[in-house]
């Protein structure tokens, strides 16, 4: 983990300044831009670790499944926070929307998980598209309020429409059909109690999302997102259409968060108001910040650390786990994340800039 790139700090000069010197020498710039998107060894290790964790830790599949879902959720937040710089306090809106869509679809239409997942993704993407116009204007505070408001509205809706969603009791009696792998003859994997099918299912989705998102953030589109994160005015003045890009990334992130929610609902066979709760939005922020923003894999590392910590502390004081979560947040921010993940700098005197 030691040479993981840190939040926002790309190993190379940012693209904006690189393109400024493009006229002088085009080949080094092209090479450096290519190097920027090259596969690094730890990425390959990470991708290899995903199936290995399924093989080597069969008894932990339930926990691993939860970790993978949280990781997926955090990756989605990273796309809008780490790459596009939108601070959201209501990302659970998409998570919950996906969860309820998947659960309702399985209950009322058909129990096939993959079709359900596709429907949930499409629905969350539509929600993302619809709400993205709300985040285009205003300051950080306005965006915080609007995202929080959207999540609260959905929470109220799920609470009040009890004939559809079961209200405060949650949506019970969701029975998932067996998993059928498309385009093959493999079929009939039930979601059993051990959770191994569920974990494999989640892992495949996670791997696909990671791969696609990696392509996305290393494409010119992803680079332009970082440009507008760093300086919106300058990005607009070199001819990037800022609103269109924000709408696109918000929709995509919404779709992924919806997928994470759908996976949760499908693998647990349950959806409750909890998925819209403020805690969810706050937790996913924490997960992402622990793992580091702006390099896509922060969500995975953050989710592992967060879930392990959660299990550890919750086993010790189940009721007051939130206190330690809060303390962790406060200390993390006060010390600063950069220093927090580098214990060897703790006792070094900080040089004043």
């Amino acid at each position: 983990m030691s040479d993981t790139p840190v939040a926002g700090a790309s190993p190379l000069p940012p693209p904006a300044s690189a393109s400024a010197s493009a006229a002088a020498a085009s080949s080094p710039v092209a090479r450096s831009l290519r190097g920027y998107s090259r596969w690094r060894w730890w990425e390959l290790v990470l991708f290899a670790a995903l199936p290995l964790s399924w093989l080597l830790l069969p008894g932990q599949a339930l926990l691993l499944n939860e970790i993978a879902i949280v990781a997926l959720f955090a990756i989605s937040l990273d796309l809008i926070l780490g790459y596009a710089g939108i601070v959201s306090l209501g990302h659970a809106a998409f998570f919950g929307f996906g969860a309820y869509t998947a659960a309702l679809f399985a209950k009322n239409v058909m129990p096939d998980p993959i079709v359900g997942l596709a429907v949930a993704i499409a629905a969350s993407a539509a929600l993302g598209l619809a709400t993205s116009v709300l985040i285009l204007r205003g300051s950080d505070l306005t965006r915080l309020m609007v995202t929080l408001g959207v999540a609260s509205i959905l929470y109220e809706l799920a609470n009040k429409l009890d004939w559809l969603t079961g209200g405060a009791d949650g949506l019970q009696g969701v029975v998932m059909g067996p998993l059928t792998v498309p385009f093959t003859t493999l079929k009939g994997f039930d979601f059993d109690l051990s959770g191994r099918t569920a974990y494999a299912y989640t892992l495949v989705v996670l791997a696909i999302v990671l791969f696609v998102s990696r392509r996305l953030v290393h494409s010119p589109f992803g680079t332009s997102l970082q440009a507008l994160r760093d300086n919106r005015l300058r990005a607009a003045s070199i001819g990037l259409s800022v609103p269109l890009r924000l709408v696109a990334v918000y929709t995509y992130a919404g779709a992924i968060a919806g997928a994470a929610g759908a996976l949760l609902a499908q693998t647990t066979g349950f959806a409750s108001l909890d998925v819209f709760d403020f805690h969810r939005s706050a937790e996913v922020l924490l997960v992402l910040v622990v793992g580091g923003t702006g390099y896509l894999y922060g969500g995975i590392f953050g989710a592992i650390v967060f879930k392990l910590l959660h299990d550890l502390i919750a086993a010790w004081t189940p009721q007051y786990w939130n206190f330690w979560l809060g303390l962790f947040l406060v200390v993390l921010v006060l010390v600063g994340r950069e220093r927090f993940v580098r214990p060897w700098t703790w006792f070094r005197v900080q040089r004043k800039q």
Partner: protein, 285 residues
Amino acid sequence: MTLLFDGIAYGMLLFILAVGLAVTLGLMNFINLAHGAFAMAGGYITVLLMNRLGVPFLACLPIAFLGTALLGALLERTLYRPMYSRPHLDQVLFSIGLVFMAVTAVDYVVGSMQQNIHLPDWLQGRLPIEAVGIGKYRLFIVVTCALLTIALQWVLSRTRFGSRLRASVDDPRVAGGLGLDVNRIFLLTFAVGSGLAGLGGALGAEVLGLDPTFPLKFMIYFLIVVSVGGTTTITGPLLAALLLGIADVAGKYYVPKLGAFIVYTLMIAILVWRPQGLFARASAR
């Protein structure tokens, strides 16, 4: 009519609760989600003093104010000050952490059940004025909050401290360059803001209900008041708070099915229409 009056009382209460937040946000550009925790502290000080020690209600209010103000000053000096220059994301995380800690700490110390306040007799019941029942306690709230608002307005616009504060709001660097101790002004303002929140919490314990999840439940309301009202004036948040109070009470009365739905939708609509708040003047920043 009773409804309107209840709405006004509720709105005044929200204003007192949120005005400190408006100052923190406007003055220091600091997103403090933990503001509700101070209100909760004030409420619990009152409840504990009254129920355990038998202190009279009226004496509790200034104690709640002072206690919370001290707490605010302490936290400002130790924890908040390094956060002013941080990015908004850090401030959000930091204050969420504080909220979580406050909620669980209160849960641990006092217990998670709802706390009740026994009002003195002269505040109970209703005044029948022209066939409109007006709760005595509601009237008390409205009068107290109106007096506080006038006092605040006077301090801000007429006193030396007020002009210093306004100078620091407009440009902290220039204010510092003119020899104002901006840090001390921040400290005092933060303390007074938390104190007012504590007072609001004490006054509102009867109306809003008091349990450990108070800061989370009302966080969005405070933020609505501030973001809709804008942070540059006092009248903006006041009008926003009154609007919110009336809309919420009326909405819950006429269409209980929709509940808080109306308020959130209204807020989003207003913020999309005017991102800087309804009553804000064009901001320099």
